[in-house]
Subunit: 218 residues, 2 copies
């Protein structure tokens, strides 16, 4: 029993250190991929940045493909914590929908990932290719569209002039992405200001009460 | 004189063959970069695809950076021929602005470049970096924004409810980009349909005469 206990402790210790290393490497990996892309993820560079060895990274993640998939899953977790969860803490309806918009803009503006929105940063690499990286990115994008559509749907009572919820969701996503893209390329805040004004206008046009938008507008 | 003439002819012949090779390589390069990115441009792969040698590609383009810059300039020429020139052939005003929108969507949908809009495909690679590739892409994006803003400005008389021309230009570009991005990732036509409906709505909301939009709408 003692031996077993000791072995378990040793295994637990090793597992914990493994988990810590894994997390540290993934933190670097999501930032690196948001700047250099998923193909630019280098096992050597990750080992160097996290003070480990290449064989250590390989032992934790296996192939480069496994590392890419783990990086995408880690980015998804961060996105959920940065955007989805704060949005869900707002009351259902227009307030939550507006919270979604402003939280996403802040997620992009504050460079939660060094290279702006992780999923926009890596999309161009994956969209013309097939394979597991492409498939997981498609699934995550579908999840995101469905989430925005659900938030629009829950705000329908607050948007009496809303005609096409799917179209509004498409427009909101388009405007948020445009802010992210423009700010990354031009390095100015102008695109966030334009996007916020345009998002605001879209909700007003759908019949939103301006008071409810003012409340959460910075 | 005869000798000089012959030399000139020989030089002209060589130059012509050089220009033809250059064009053939650039045609491959823009398509390759629209799928694999500018960093993915491989001199070896281009030589293979165009039936030449690596040293031949190097002789024509010099460094990889020179090849990247020449590729971007070639993509700009194609973009001007595919989008800007057809737009400018439409009468000034709302018709031209709507022509811009539908022509851009068609430029993306028809995959003028294999990987969709060239400039969106390579943006993520360049936006977080500095250097000549970044600088030329910023300049081209500024040209494009200015062009869209000019078309909006020239349509102002046809858009009596237009309040903020810069904001409308931002929205139109956002919606066109969203169609390109979504269709590449999901491989469906849905995003083009949503974008066209949204673009149409934006112009109607600015006071456009629906008749003028119907005329050029598919």
């Amino acid at each position: 029993m003692t031996l077993t206990g000791t072995t378990t402790e040793r295994v637990d210790g090793r597992r914990r250190r493994g988990d810590d290393s894994r997390r540290a490497i993934l933190r670097e990996a999501v930032n690196l991929a948001s700047v250099q892309g998923l193909d630019g993820l280098s096992i050597g560079e990750l080992a160097e940045r996290t003070g480990g060895s290449k064989s250590g990274v390989v032992a934790l993640f296996g192939s480069k493909l496994d590392l890419q998939l783990a990086t995408i899953r880690a980015a998804r977790e961060t996105f959920i914590a940065s955007v989805v969860e704060p949005t869900l803490r707002a009351p259902r309806g227009l307030e939550r929908l507006w919270k979604l918009c402003t939280t996403w803009l802040e997620y992009s503006r504050s460079r939660t990932f060094e290279g702006g929105c992780f999923f926009r940063a890596v999309a161009a690499e994956a969209d013309s290719k097939s394979g597991p990286v492409h498939d997981i990115l498609v699934t995550i994008d579908e999840e995101w569209i469905a989430f925005v559509e659900r938030c629009v749907g829950l705000a329908a009572d607050d948007l009496p002039a809303l005609q096409n919820p799917g179209l509004l969701a498409f427009e909101l996503i388009a405007l948020m992405d445009a802010a992210n893209r423009g700010s990354l390329l031009h390095g100015t805040a102008r695109d966030y200001e334009l996007a916020e004004a345009a998002l605001h206008d879209r909700l007003l046009a759908a019949g939103a009460d301006p008071e409810l938008l003012v409340a959460t507008r910075k």
